[in-house]
């Protein structure tokens, strides 16, 4: 324990270290690292708030800037962009129902409903507080347990991932607040959309219809912006009276005492879930926010409020996704394995600086390793200080007339989608998904299960086929006693299916549905 404290101290000293910086000829002594952390957080919040523009594109564009920085300053700034974007992403999710990041899809569900009831302020504050708490805890988790947790991540092979995805997909149906059949239909449709593109094993093109832009599949941002963003705009323009409800009581910014009471347990559960799932390479942090939502909906006293603006549904997933975002640094820092696209970029940034990411970083460059961890905690603190006062300003956005607000949102979404692979086709595709999403809304089908199916489907297929290749076609590999983790997930999925299929529960779901319409 003392060793850890000593290490953290090394980190804090590194972050606050005064450095002589020469800037256009003038040399100043500045705590340069902490300034880079602030810049990263600011930039991250900004791009998180802009719909569709994600951290991957931003970090890639900023890579050349980091050539001339010290390795620690560069990494601190890039990490700041990453978790800053996680923070900012929830803002657009809550205010305008557009998930800026895949992990904020879940925040849309309850957060946007809260905003519609004039509780955007408390929702934003809850998101900020939940993220801050989770960020602090998971930073400690990294400092204390990074190496042993990395070993746990290695225990997850193709079979384990497949079973985890099965559990995730079964749980996805719980996401819907309406009809179960429709939720399942949307999950399956999402799975089908996920199949578009090149087959990983044989290289065969599937469902591309000769369109070369579809060769790599449909992008997540394209689908999310269309199904959530554009669809929301169309649906809102349809009804005029709704707008007044929306903006009437935006005055209250902070959560009430009652709200605070209700968010404590979900935040704690979300943090644990997020820290645990975040270490898994490949969608861990994302799964965490879905898992947390599912869990809260099942255990909460207020489960009848879910789908109608339950604060638990913001607090839990927000803490989970932030905790997951932090712990996803563990495989990177200890094994040199990136767990998502942003982490892959961080590896690129490290390699430019001549640092080979891997277990030796911790021992060979303790300043860098612990400095980065200390900066994560400080960055989270900065974000909360930055974001709480900003809430008032964000909420004012809601009072901006539609005729200004919607064209600008559309513009930003188009820029964001275009910036990913510079293809005009993606913007058209986004528009198509917007129309499709509108049809779905009219039919009472919700987009969240589709999105989850769309994200998990390809991951599941990839791992399923890999597991089958490795087992030479033996399906028992998923429930063999030699793979207890995989077996556990399968058993949990079956149990969950049984619960969902139980007649009594089904009736209860129907009641909820009737209430809503």
């Amino acid at each position: 324990m003392e060793g850890i404290l000593g290490n953290l101290l090394i980190g804090f000293i590194e972050v606050f270290k005064l450095q002589a910086v020469t800037f256009s000829g003038i040399t100043m002594t500045l705590p340069f690292n902490i300034i880079m952390c602030l810049i990263g957080c600011l930039l991250g919040t900004l791009i998180g708030v802009l719909p569709g523009i994600g951290p991957v594109a931003t970090i890639a564009m900023l890579l050349p800037v980091t050539f001339n920085l010290s390795p620690i300053a560069a990494l601190i700034m890039l990490a700041g962009i990453y978790y800053g974007a996680q923070y900012g992403g929830s803002t657009t999710a809550i205010l305008i129902n557009i998930p800026g990041e895949s992990s904020s899809v879940v925040t849309c569900l309850e957060g946007y409903q809260m905003a519609r009831q004039g509780r955007a302020g408390p929702a934003l504050a809850t998101a900020a507080i939940a993220s801050f708490f989770a960020g602090c805890v998971s930073t400690l988790v990294i400092a204390l347990f990074a190496p042993p947790l990395a070993e746990v991540a290695l225990k997850f092979g193709p079979a384990e991932y497949t079973s985890l995805m099965v559990l995730g997909l079964v749980a996805a149906t719980v996401l819907a607040s309406g009809s179960l059949i429709k939720a399942i239909a949307m999950v399956v449709l999402g799975l089908l959309l996920g199949l578009v593109g090149t087959d990983g094993n044989s290289g065969v093109l599937r469902f591309a219809f000769g369109i070369s832009e579809l060769a790599d599949g449909i992008g997540f941002v394209t689908v999310a912006m269309g199904m959530f963003g554009i669809c929301e705009i169309i649906a809102n323009l349809e009804q005029k009276e709704n707008r007044e409800v929306f903006t009437k009581s935006v005055g209250k910014l902070m959560p009430s005492k009652e709200d605070f009471k209700r968010m404590v347990a979900p935040i704690l559960r979300g943090t644990v879930l997020g820290s645990a799932l975040g270490i898994l390479p490949g969608g861990g942090a994302l799964l965490a926010s879905f898992a947390s939502y599912t869990l809260e909906k099942k255990v909460s006293k207020y489960s009848h409020e879910f789908g109608k603006g339950a604060i638990e549904g913001v607090a839990g997933p927000e803490s989970a996704n932030n905790a997951g975002a932090q712990t996803s640094f563990i495989p990177l820092l200890t094994l040199g394995i990136p767990s998502n696209a942003v982490m892959a970029l961080m590896i690129g940034a490290m390699m430019i600086q001549g640092i080979a990411p891997g277990p030796q970083v911790m021992t060979e460059r303790p300043q860098l390793f612990w400095g980065m961890i200390a900066s994560m905690w400080l960055g989270n603190l900065m974000l909360v200080i930055l974001n709480l006062p900003l809430i008032g300003m964000w909420i004012k956005l809601l009072t901006v007339p539609y005729r200004y607000l919607y064209p600008s949102i559309l513009l930003f979404m188009a820029i964001g989608v275009f910036s990913i692979s510079n293809q005009p086709f993606d913007c058209l595709l986004m528009a198509c998904f917007g129309l499709f999403g509108y049809v779905c809304v009219k039919l009472g089908c919700e987009p969240a299960p589709l999105i989850l199916g769309f994200i998990l489907g390809p991951l599941m297929e990839e791992n399923l086929r890999r597991a089958m290749l490795l087992s030479r076609g033996d399906p028992w590999v998923f429930i063999s006693p030699s793979k207890p983790i995989s077996m556990g997930f399968i058993i949990a999925s079956v149990l969950l299916l049984v619960i969902v299929a139980l007649p009594g529960l089904r009736k209860k779901r129907k009641e909820v549905f009737v209430e809503e319409t």
Partner: protein
């Protein structure tokens, strides 16, 4: 005849004039892969250098898709005015033509190859649990247990996959190919002992080799790598002539005026020889390439294309 001569003269003059005033506007450098990969990173490093020496902005544009084919096709079919460049690689120039039927461009006829930027060896690595301590023992093991060993790779048709196929062919063994999405997850599965071996890019495998998470048996290039000087090559280990590496460079549209190609080639070489750039390229696992001029690069592309066409055909890998 006279008119033709005049026309010819005018055209040459215009060409020359264009080349002399070049570059008069910003250049675009297409990186046909997603941002953040090694090719994208080296594109951005090169762009920063060229910007200084050419006095015009060099804008990196990511156009990912279809294994890089979309971005390369864009330049192959684009204007040959000397302002459009693409990061071309072994995949788009040598492997994809036989892997993808109906490739929209011809890597020899539609493109002018300017400079080879990076050449990285692959390394044959095995999981620590595998009893084989050298290449010879690995071959024996593979022969004893036909179809029981798994080799991973970053994707179907990657250099890692094809090096494995080449190894199988030259040794007469049979191993099962397990494709991943990128070499990082494959490496993770190898550390955990779920797959037995892979032919991974030196840069991505090096940290795991250095920290003894996996065991390196040989490099796939003819010469040893200065990063692992004690490691034998496959050629030394008995697989005579085994010489495979991952490489990428800069190409332009085929009709780009010769003076511009020459100028650009010189500028890129100058950038590569600058100490800081040299260091960064080395950090990617690249030795300074011996192929320097545009002509050498062009004939290198032609010979690689021949080798991989044959390899893809014989191994039966196909994407259609």
């Amino acid at each position: 005849m006279q008119r033709l001569l005049v026309l010819f003269f005018l055209a040459t003059a215009a060409n020359l004039a264009a080349a002399q005033s070049w570059p008069a506007k910003p250049l675009r450098l297409v990186a046909p892969y997603a941002a953040g990969g090694p090719i994208d990173i080296s594109a951005r490093q090169l762009a920063a250098k060229l910007q200084d020496s050419l006095g015009q902005p060099v804008v990196v544009e990511n156009r990912p898709g279809a294994g890089g084919n979309i971005g390369v096709d864009l330049i192959a079919k684009g204007p040959a005015d000397g302002y459009s460049l693409v990061m071309s690689a072994i995949a788009t120039l040598a492997i994809n033509p036989s892997l993808y039927p109906g490739l929209p461009y011809d890597p020899i006829k539609d493109l002018r190859h300017v400079t080879l930027l990076v050449q990285v060896p692959n390394v044959l690595i095995v999981t620590n649990e595998l009893p084989a301590k050298n290449v010879k023992e690995l071959i024996t093991l593979a022969k004893q247990r036909p179809g029981k060993l798994d080799f991973g790779s970053g994707s179907t048709g990657s250099t890692g996959h094809l090096a494995g196929e080449m190894f199988k062919m030259m040794t007469g063994t049979f191993m099962v190919h397990i494709p991943y999405k990128g070499s990082a997850p494959a490496l993770a599965d190898m550390m955990a002992g779920r797959i037995h071996l892979m032919f991974d890019n030196l840069a991505s495998a090096l940290p795991s080799i250095k920290s003894d998470k996996v065991r390196a048996l040989a490099t796939t290039t003819k010469a040893r790598s200065s990063f692992l000087p004690e490691l034998p090559t496959l050629d030394e280990a008995g697989l005579k002539g085994f010489d495979m590496s991952t490489w990428w460079g800069v190409s332009m549209a085929a009709k780009t005026p010769q003076p511009i190609v020459e100028r650009l080639s010189a500028e890129i070489l100058k950038a590569m020889d600058a100490p800081d750039m040299k260091e960064r390229l080395r950090n990617m696992g690249s030795e300074a390439p011996t192929i320097r001029t545009a002509e050498q690069f062009t004939s290198f592309v032609a010979s690689e294309l021949k080798i991989y066409t044959e390899l893809v055909r014989r191994s039966g890998a196909k994407a259609d």
